[in-house]
């Protein structure tokens, strides 16, 4: 599983991110705003994948973690005038602490039961932010007028790209180590990992904290991009499934997969908008995701990998 990081890998990353950096010169501001959302969705999908795609503990409550990060920095900066240089790191730390809370059910349950408990976390958060201290959370209406970090689509795009690039390369490098192999092994057969002399509780806790930390970073920066936060948009089942489907159809247990899935889904939903402005779009996107998933359960990443294998095989 774990392979050496080579100059070829780094060159491919540089090429990808360099190409992305040129996009503002090639596309309009509307498209750029769509890509900004895709970048953040890629961050959320990568964080879900660290937690669920690797270890096999499928979380249905990821917006809970994103929400903790987003609300923490929004409340600190908007209500208490805490500088964002402080409120964002605090938000990430608080989200990581919430990740350990998320981890508790994973000590005893897995599979469907774990998924349902994490879904309950999200629902609980949705209800609580509306009734507990609405003077802080803004209740059902949320908070608007949160400080933004950038002005204009181009700057917002570069910030989101830098964030996605740093997170993707860091996670990719981490997953290339023996740790990545061990986390993937947990997803395949947790008992056999324990039976190989490894402390699976410690490994899962680490994965949950890293996944939560990335969700916290994504949530915090996203709220400072949007400038507002509302519980209905954040703790939404469609948002949750967009994150999960992005990771799954892109290719769980990889880094490129969730990124590719996030871009595929964002543009699919965007291009369907003129034809189907309502929620019907989700029917089409659900059908496409289902067909793709049935055709190749390992996602777009595997389809591309097989295509490359066929091409290089044909050339050999």
């Amino acid at each position: 599983m774990s392979t050496q990081i080579t100059w070829k890998h780094l060159a491919l990353w540089a090429l990808f991110l360099g190409g992305m950096a040129l996009l503002p010169m090639l596309v309009g501001k509307g498209t750029l705003r769509t890509i900004i959302f895709a970048n953040y969705l890629a961050i959320f999908a990568m964080s879900w994948d660290v937690l669920s795609g690797r270890t096999g503990y499928i979380s249905f409550g990821h917006p809970f973690l994103i929400g903790i990060g987003a609300y923490t920095t929004a409340i600190l900066s908007y209500r208490f005038d805490v500088p964002v240089g402080i409120s964002i790191p605090v938000a990430v730390i608080v989200t990581m602490a919430a990740g350990t809370l998320f981890f508790l059910p994973a000590l005893r349950i897995k599979g469907t039961y774990f998924a349902l408990v994490t879904l309950a976390f999200m629902e609980l958060m949705y209800q609580l932010v509306q009734v507990i201290r609405p003077d802080l959370t803004g209740g059902t209406r949320g908070i608007s007028g949160v400080q933004t970090l950038t002005r204009g689509a181009v700057n917002g795009y570069y910030l989101s790209l830098a964030l996605m690039g740093v997170i993707a390369i860091s996670l990719w490098a981490m997953m290339k180590t023996r740790l990545g192999t061990a986390l993937s092994a947990i997803g395949m057969n947790e008992e056999a990992v324990e039976g190989s002399g490894l402390n699976t509780t410690k490994l899962k806790l680490f994965a949950f904290m890293v996944g939560a930390g990335v969700a916290g970073i994504g949530g915090a920066f996203y709220v400072h991009y949007l400038g507002s936060i509302a519980p209905r948009a954040l703790f939404d089942i469609n948002f949750l499934f967009t994150i999960i489907v992005a990771a799954l159809i892109g290719g769980a247990s990889t880094i490129i997969g969730p990124m590719a899935g996030a871009f595929f889904l964002t543009f699919l939903l965007e291009y369907l908008r003129p034809f189907l402005p309502g929620a019907e779009r989700y029917f089409i996107y659900g059908s496409i995701a289902l067909i793709l998933y049935m055709y190749e359960p390992k996602g777009l990443y595997e389809i591309l990998r097989k295509a490359r294998e066929r091409l290089t095989g044909a050339n050999a």
């Binding site: 599983m1 192999t181 061990a182 395949m188 056999a192 990992v193 039976g195 190989s196 002399g197």
Partner: protein, 242 residues
């Protein structure tokens, strides 16, 4: 002889069923012991209790005199005891080399991040159990049952055990594969490995063990050399009903 593994008055109940009923036995360093009994005798439960996969209701399990019952499975493995399973449980999406590599990993997250995979050691272990270099990059799904058993042995050996618990190590193997696995086990035995072996294939088991312990319905019946145990009336009753 130095005692390496001791079980003393171990009891395990699953609801109303007493799966392990006051079992006590010792295994000396370098010894090979066969644990025999009919289906449902509680042999695999003994292995699960030693490994901590089931918690004993009472009694003591010691390795080198150290109490194991309070330790988690991974800690018991680090102390020097490991097991194989009746049905091999490889990591399906990893090749053979990576499967063995999991058994060689340090149990520290920092060490996992900052140390390189022990590929050479994994290759050496693979060769020592008779896996070919051509098999190393195969997925477990492509292996024969014999090679899967070898992989299971390799993964277990990678944890550097002093005592190996082998559960139905000959199940599903051809006569040739049984001969090969027996040869491997004997080689490791010459190097000082201690075994507790469960097998229904008594003919293949006999040459591998110094001593047999018979049990039925979770209860100790008798122990001694293979011939003595097999001629014991209670053992014949448990196996053959007469």
């Amino acid at each position: 002889m130095t005692v390496i593994l001791e079980l003393e008055h171990v009891v395990k109940r699953f609801g109303g069923l007493v799966a392990t009923n006051d079992m006590s036995f010792e295994v000396a360093k370098g010894e090979s012991v066969g644990l025999i009994g009919p289906n449902g005798a509680g042999k695999t439960t003994i292995f699960s209790l030693i490994m901590g996969e089931h918690k004993a209701d009472s009694g003591s399990i010691r390795l080198h005199g150290e109490e194991l019952t309070k330790l988690a499975t991974h800690k018991r493995i680090r102390r020097g005891v490991a097991r194989t399973y009746q049905v091999p449980r490889p990591f399906a999406d990893m090749d053979v080399l990576a499967n063995i590599e999991v058994g060689l990993m340090p149990d520290s997250i920092m060490a996992m991040i900052f140390t390189a995979p022990a590929d050479e050691e994994a290759r050496a272990i693979a060769r020592s159990v008779g896996l070919n270099d051509a098999d190393l990059h195969r997925d477990p799904a492509e292996l024969s049952m014999g090679d899967l058993r070898k992989l299971e042995l390799a993964r277990t050996l990678a944890t550097k055990p002093e005592v190996m618990l082998l559960d139905e190590v000959f199940a599903g193997l051809t006569a040739g594969e049984i001969e090969q696995i027996s040869g491997l086990l004997n080689e490791k035995r010459q190097e000082g490995m201690t075994y507790v072996i469960v097998s229904h294939d008594l003919r293949s088991l006999e040459p591998l063990i110094d001593r047999a312990i018979a049990m039925t319905q979770g209860t100790f019946v008798c122990q001694g050399d293979y011939a003595t145990v097999m001629s014991d009336e209670a053992v014949r009753m448990a196996y053959l009903g007469h």
